[in-house]
Amino acid sequence: MRAADALCEALNAEGVKHVFGIPGGASLPLYDALYDASFEHVQVRHEQAAGHAAEGYAKASGKVGVAFATSGPGATNLVTAIADAHMDSVPTVFITGQVRTDLIGTDGFQEADVTGITMPIVKHSFLVTDPAQIPDYIHKAFHIAKSGRPGPVLVDIPQDLSRMEIDYEPITGAPKLPGYQPNTEGNIKQIRIAAKALANSRRPVLYAGGGVINADASEELRELAASDRFPVTCTLMGLGAFPAPDEQWLGMLGMHGTRTANYSMDEADLIVAIGARFDDRITGKLSEFAPRAKFVHIDIDPAEISKNVPAHIPIVGDVKKVLPKLTGEYRALAADSSRLDEWWRRIEGWREQYPLHYEDTTDQEIKPQRMVEEMYRATGGDAIITSDVGQHQMWAAQYYHFAKPRRWLNSGGLGTMGFGLPAAIGAKVAMPDEQVVCLAGDGSLIMVCQEFATAAANDLDVKVFLMNNGHFGMVRQWQELFWDERYKSVEMGPSPDWVKLAEAFGWTGILCDSKDELAGAMKSALETEGPVLLDVRVTPNENCYPMIPAGAAARDMVG
């Protein structure tokens, strides 16, 4: 069998239903094989979008997302998406064509050392040197991408090798990877100590991150929280891991988190970090982060434990397996719940004193927060929401109360503008029956607006709700607050005419610039068949609050 066909067989054996990509010279043999493949190839309009679509696909469905690109510029266009998938631990496989083996190292046409370029941003990579390796490498790539702490794996295939004939035999069984054995169980002794620490804590907080979603462990998190009214906060990546409208929910923590969540971390005596990594957007000033707390840290990646914040009780394991054990051990201790009464009184006090708030207008001007609230109502709080990066992302995190996992797809670690639309495309391909809405920023959307064509060509019913504030709003906010209002290169100006742009791509375009019409405009956007762009003109200079200024402590929240 031709190696390229064996590649497709291997992908098929891994259960692949969709891949995203753009062909080119070095990947011609691969595309010739895709011609006959049993799965679907979604042709995007820029390789970065193929990568983000693969991420959206993976985040929404839990399955491995796959993207194809040709050598050189095709592969380098993937780099941002690979870095994004690395930062947010998204199970993805990137397959790139490479120049012929006799050209490698000669600066051949469209040659780029993509395995070298991506080395620091992949979980692993394979450069094929013998066509017979291809099925095995694909098998390994999928295994590595989805097991342990998920992440991106790159397979680079020289053009001449993918055209060669090989003996293909379907591979069964676990791949042989002597240096790769993630520990998933969690040490029971450590788990018992953690249970005791919880039983002896008077001011505990459960701090959950994207790892809980990756592990499909929301149910298990809820069980632990329910075992004793433990207060719960989630990171930006963890939103949806715990149902937002809940008694025990403190709101998101971190730079634009709630005061309640951040103050709770600040005063906690025990913090249980679950699939979270103490990013600087969470900790703020490290030396003043949660100064009274001891830390239990549960993570499948041992290197995350004590990386930023030293753990008192480290537990390496899959949170899906560790949490039920911790809950069981904790329940067995029959701790006295009333010890938490005082803590809850304190938390309730913050909740009452510092709810999320904004001042709505008295005229028809649309406040951006209002737009998200309206969006929450219009979608019944149950859509898959993707976003770009900026203020709109933070407002979505604050005001769209995610109740379920895999409903909030955004770029947290890398903060990649332009993530939203291609991720929505990927999510829609994965979950055709779900409502998928991209909450876009005007600065971000224009970076990827060529993807309107992808949605139109593939009949993908995605909705884009554009929060049009005419600015790189988040940067404008920083210039206002921390750079003496010396505004530089943050205005977007009046162009483009988004409705016309959408229509040019075959989308429906709707403009909304008055508050009274917002609910109706959203309703009709959601009800209109096919892709729709809703251009919502919001207050141009609203700031996103509350906020921990960069490098400050939770106590110093402003706004």
Partner: protein, 184 residues
């Protein structure tokens, strides 16, 4: 270790977390898959995470599919635990051993080309004998000496000959192996 469900208390104040700094030099012995790019991954990891490699030696092992990478890292500057955990994440790294000094045989080899005019030639030859080193090359102006031993021994040889005019030095970095337990 207490059993499940026992009521004995645990005082949160008694919990300790370690900052990971050991204050000493660590010799890490890695078994890695013998394939292209593995060293680049290791070196890249160190530079990306801001860890410094003090010495590095790479070579084959008894198994042709496996290479050994021996490197030394300053545990006073870098949390060694974090270094080894990051290394473990590399799929091609099979095994890592943080060698315990008193259970390890470690050796380094070095070549020194030393100024050896007539008036100090004798002294250098004497040093060479004292250090049980070998003269491997001689010219009218210089002597080249091969020294094998612990890093400390090589350091002190260097200190001895430097005043005489050290023209060039090449060191391999340490390699190490676990000391066999004495037969009982």
């Amino acid at each position: 270790m207490a059993e499940s469900g026992t009521q004995d208390l645990l005082d949160l104040d008694e919990l300790r977390a370690e900052n990971g700094l050991t204050g000493r030099r660590h010799l890490l012995s890695l078994l890695v898959e013998n394939r292209p790019g593995v060293l680049a991954r290791i070196a890249g990891l160190f530079s990306r995470r801001g860890f410094n490699i003090d010495t590095l030696a790479v070579g084959p092992t008894e198994d042709p599919d496996i290479s050994r990478v021996t490197l030394t890292v300053d545990g006073a500057v870098h949390p060694i635990d974090q270094v080894t955990k990051q290394l473990h994440k590399l799929v091609n790294v099979i095994k890592i051993r943080d060698m315990e000094p008193d259970k390890t045989v470690a050796r380094e080899m070095a070549l020194f080309r030393i100024n050896a005019a007539a008036d100090n030639r004798a002294e250098i030859i004497e040093f060479t004998q004292i250090f049980r080193a070998h003269i491997v090359d001689v010219s009218r102006r210089s002597i080249t000496v091969e020294v094998t031993g612990t890093t400390e021994k090589i350091d002190s040889f260097e200190r001895m000959v430097r005043p005489h005019g050290l023209i060039e030095m090449a060191r391999t970095g340490e390699v190490a192996i676990v000391r066999a337990r004495p037969e009982s």
